[in-house]
């Protein structure tokens, strides 16, 4: 094994260990943060870099170590970046919905309940999108 080979091994190992640590910290955040909205922050962020680090490590391992073409990992991170905000958004919307429907029984968390943005409109979870605005669906 050449000196360069060892250097690559070290880089790949560091990437994978860093990635795994971030994934672990993200999961720990889900356990220890106080309420649902705070817990959402762990998995949407700390795990993106966690997975990113592991995927880059895997890519380097196959491209440099094994001499194979390996770019699937880029697609995985692309899909992760597209889906993570959407699932976080859906969970947040369900939480907003519960805050309203369950009234005082719902746990609002330290941030309290969100105030309506203006006199003219409320959030889209609470009020149908206005017809000729950007929030409107094509059918409304």
């Amino acid at each position: 094994m050449s000196g360069l080979g060892i250097l690559f091994d070290v880089i790949i190992s560091v990437l994978i260990v860093i990635g795994a640590s971030f994934a672990l910290i993200g999961s720990w955040g889900m356990v220890r943060l106080p309420t649902l909205m705070e817990r959402l922050h762990g998995p949407t962020k700390a795990t993106t870099l966690g997975l990113g680090g592991m995927l880059v490590g895997s890519m380097l391992y196959f491209m440099l170590g094994e001499g194979q073409w390996a770019l699937h990992e880029l697609l995985i991170s692309l899909f992760l970046f597209i889906t993570a905000p959407i699932s976080a958004n859906m969970i947040a919307k369900v939480h907003l919905h519960e805050l309203r429907t369950q009234g005082d029984d719902a746990v609002a968390g330290p941030a309290g309940r969100p105030a309506a943005p203006s006199d003219k409109a409320n959030w889209a979870t609470y009020e149908a999108p206005h017809a000729d605005s950007v929030a409107a669906t094509s059918e409304s």
């Binding site: 720990w28 705070e38 962020k45 700390a46 697609l75 970046f81 905000p85 947040a92 941030a111």
Partner: protein, 161 residues
């Protein structure tokens, strides 16, 4: 030309993604990718009426900025998770007034906010002018709103014209 390739950016993206999926750089794969890159935008055109023009140069610059911010965000959130006590956290709801006026631009802004430091976008207002964002630690909500508007919204206005 405009009718054959209604959305050149989407076509190029489709070819690249096809090649990544095939995971092998071959001429055959490239040809199939080009066919898909031409056919798909033609068939999906009815789904994006009135789409804004995209400034690709500004778009790539924006993408790099966001990637960098994602890395920084991860370290900040990891720090908060490991070393901040729950009672020191200042979570807050921010309602961000937006000047962006296309669904595409607002979607990208919401996605960016969810992926970057300590903020998750939660909802859009019924009038489409405000974004509801939950911040994990925002002692000064007004400053946080100003930061998001200056850093991301101002750049997005240049990407989607």
């Amino acid at each position: 030309m405009r009718r054959l390739i209604p959305h050149p950016g989407l076509s190029v993206l489709l070819v690249i993604i096809w090649l990544l999926m095939a995971n092998e750089p071959t001429v055959g794969g490239l040809l199939v990718g080009i066919v898909i890159g031409i056919l798909l935008p033609i068939f999906t055109a009815p789904f994006w009426p009135g789409r804004p023009d995209v400034n690709y140069r500004a778009g790539v610059a924006y993408l790099l900025l966001v990637l960098w911010d994602i890395v920084v965000a991860n370290f900040e959130i990891a720090w908060i998770i490991l070393f901040r006590r729950n009672r020191d956290l200042r979570p807050a709801w921010l309602s961000i007034p937006m000047e962006l006026d296309t669904p595409e631009a607002i979607t990208v802004l919401a996605g960016t906010i969810s992926l970057t430091p300590g903020t998750v976008s939660s909802d859009v207002s019924a009038c489409g002018n405000y974004l509801l964002v939950h911040a994990l630690d925002a002692p000064d909500p007004e400053a946080e709103i100003a930061r998001i508007k200056a850093r991301y919204e101002a750049r997005l206005k240049r990407v989607f014209k």
